[in-house]
Symmetry: C2
Subunit: 415 residues, 2 copies
């Protein structure tokens, strides 16, 4: 079955058809989609993907948190199926590929296998998980987290969005409060997720395939520094307690810490809010976020400790108060070596350049890794862009990724 | 006439009566006023102060930009009068003292002189200038700037607020588009402004009177750094162009530059806006303000040059674009030595502790200094607070400041 190949035309047609739902325009003619979880557009997207599953003769089941799973049976019904999938919800400024690629490539694999008349030992499943983005309901990867039993169904249904809408009510309103138990009773034999890289590494190194080794551990902290609001003209430097100066010292240091730790360590301050935010007033309060990530838990803790102690010291020197609030903390996830090397080997056999790499972003695969062997396949993102209508991947790269997914699934389905 | 003293009770009564118009509450029971320029509350405040002027038998004239001047004639009508004054408009979160003190102390000096039956050679004037705060119509000190001929009347009348309302229309609507020519035809013999310090220096040094030497030069720059928006997890440090890191390095450096230059140099970043301002996105763009002040023009230029070249270098190293937009630039204003030492000497003669000090904030006096000998008298601000309902000055300090004003005016009026 090594000769089997997917149809990039069929795959692109599904990607673009789904992308039309909630279509948004970028600033330079490019286009993407806005389908926030459990909105009317999400429903329309779900209905379309479910109709495609049914067209392929798959049976579709929906669980209590709205995860939808299409199943194409194998020859041995006693064997657990191989699952592909990802998510079809997007951020408000989403592209057409993030998540959608993993789901629609799964359908394309099923269609390729069917058209070739191949009968596999294990069944194939294609899943889309609810609210992966977390753009409307926190936390992100909510659907897959509930699927694997990491968060109770009732607790998840009670999550509210920023307008106060309850997740369970919104799920029922779009008709996707399903009857399948959650967490699942039987987990798949293995899970494989094809995804765009959402970063610049593959493009920068001119490589086609990323064999994902795991997902970086994430530490999100909101740092609030409180000083003394004062007039910018009348307050001598020696009498100031300026939280903006402290924040700046801390953010500048985060770059130095990331350099010093090296490896996969990254450090980002993406958000800052200043109060009262006026030209001629020393701020009373500065709040900013610190996003630290590493593939190794020990190093991530080193980064946290270095940053927190530096920040405390700078605040004390300026006479400011400082508080830290953890917004998110996930330990690194490591995929099984067997699964990583399978992706790597099959990509090479298909003639593609490949490298092992961690995922810097969270994915449903990291939840599935708790319950079954899991791997991820990355394809390049043009300019590293994602969560942006300009998000794009060359068709040849989409095709390469989907063909690697096909070969991985064929191998897993005959185990 | 060295024995003459003002009545602190009358002064406080006027301060509190005027403060009731547009009264606002602070967070801890304190109260202040919100009388934005040319609003209905500004009109009510103006009407009250004008009625007090008339009660004192002063003739009131209003000029084309709405500056109001009350005059009490002296014995020699060929001599130009001595002017006191300030402003009665406030910021949105204003206190009762900023500006108002200088105007109402002026009325108290007139009343003290009248009750003592003293006849002065020169007349006394009390002025309140339009839109000193600039909180509604830019620039600040607009009324006094037009009064001295620094800005054309027609141009000033065409200024619009953020809602598009035209200054000239708003001025007419509150009935203060006066007929006196602007700039003035005859300027006063001298101008003296009593004002709260709006800073912590006098309180910190336990002093009662500041003999103001001049007004610091001000350089306001809006710095925009543009990098590349990127995913905080998937973008390795080496592939980043992060404007937040550059901004932080620049702000941290501004503290170092202020330390290095010493003297009166201050540096403040009070405003920062981050786009898109999300936890897990390396920002595309960071805009922040840099407020630099010094009493010496040469040193102010040194600070500007040090900061701009450092910022350019940091941006270049990170691969970011950087632009500088000047928001305001005023050279330092130096009051005449004779006027400074007069305040200093008379304060000492009244038994008050005194120090010379620059003003870090802008005041109407800096405009008047263009056309006549000018001085300012500072009294302490509790906790250095201003532009805040909690703005306050101890009654004993208000009394001391007003008595120094009285003695300065008595001396000037007999020159």
């Amino acid at each position: 079955m090594e000769h089997l190949r997917i149809s990039i035309d069929r795959l692109l047609e599904r990607i673009n058809s789904l992308g039309e739902i909630g279509r948004i325009a970028g600033s330079k003619g490019e286009w993407g989609s806005a389908r926030l979880a459990l909105t009317e557009d999400d429903r329309l997207g779900r209905d379309l993907v479910v109709s495609w599953m049914r067209d392929l003769g798959m049976t579709v089941s929906v669980d209590g948190i709205g995860n939808a799973i299409g199943t194409w049976p194998g020859s041995d019904p006693t064997l657990r199926p191989v699952m592909m999938g990802s998510h079809i919800d997007t951020v408000r400024t989403g592209g057409r590929f993030d998540g959608n690629l993993g789901v629609l490539a799964g359908l394309e694999i099923v269609e390729t296998v069917q058209r070739a008349g191949v009968k596999l030992q294990r069944g194939l499943q294609v899943a889309f998980f609810t609210d992966e983005e977390g753009a409307r309901f926190a936390p992100d990867m909510l659907g897959s987290l509930v699927y694997v039993g990491g968060l109770g169904l009732e607790e998840a249904l009670d999550v509210r969005d920023s307008d106060g809408a309850r997740l369970g009510d919104e799920l029922a309103a779009i008709g996707y409060a399903g009857s399948m138990p959650c967490p699942a009773v039987v987990f798949p034999h293995a899970f494989v997720e094809l995804h765009i890289e959402q970063g610049p590494v593959l493009e920068d190194e001119r490589l086609t395939i990323g064999a994902v080794t795991g997902v970086q551990g994430i530490s999100w902290t909101e740092v609030t520094i409180t000083g003394q609001s004062a007039h910018a003209g009348t307050t001598p430097m020696r009498l100031r307690r300026d939280p903006m100066v402290v924040a700046s010292q801390v953010i500048a240091e985060s770059r130095a810490v990331a350099r010093r730790l090296g490896g996969t360590q990254v450090a980002t301050t993406g958000r800052m809010d200043v109060y009262p935010n006026l030209v001629n007033v020393v701020p009373a309060r500065v709040t900013f976020t610190l996003d630290l990530r590493n593939t190794e838990e020990e190093r991530l803790q080193q980064a946290e400790q270095a940053m927190f102690s530096f920040a405390r010291r700078m605040a004390a020197e300026e006479g400011c108060d400082i508080t830290f609030k953890s917004l998110a903390r996930f330990e690194p996830v490591q995929f099984e070596e067997r699964m990583i090397s399978m992706v790597e080997r099959l990509a090479v056999e298909l003639g593609h350049s490949v490298r092992r790499m961690p995922s810097g972003a969270g994915h449903d695969a990291q939840m599935l890794a708790r319950v079954c062997p899991t791997s991820m396949i990355f394809v390049p993102s043009i300019n590293g862009l994602s969560h942006n209508p300009a998000e794009d991947t060359a068709p040849a790269d989409l095709e390469a990724g989907a063909n690697v997914l096909l070969q991985v699934v064929l191998q897993l389905a005959d185990e």
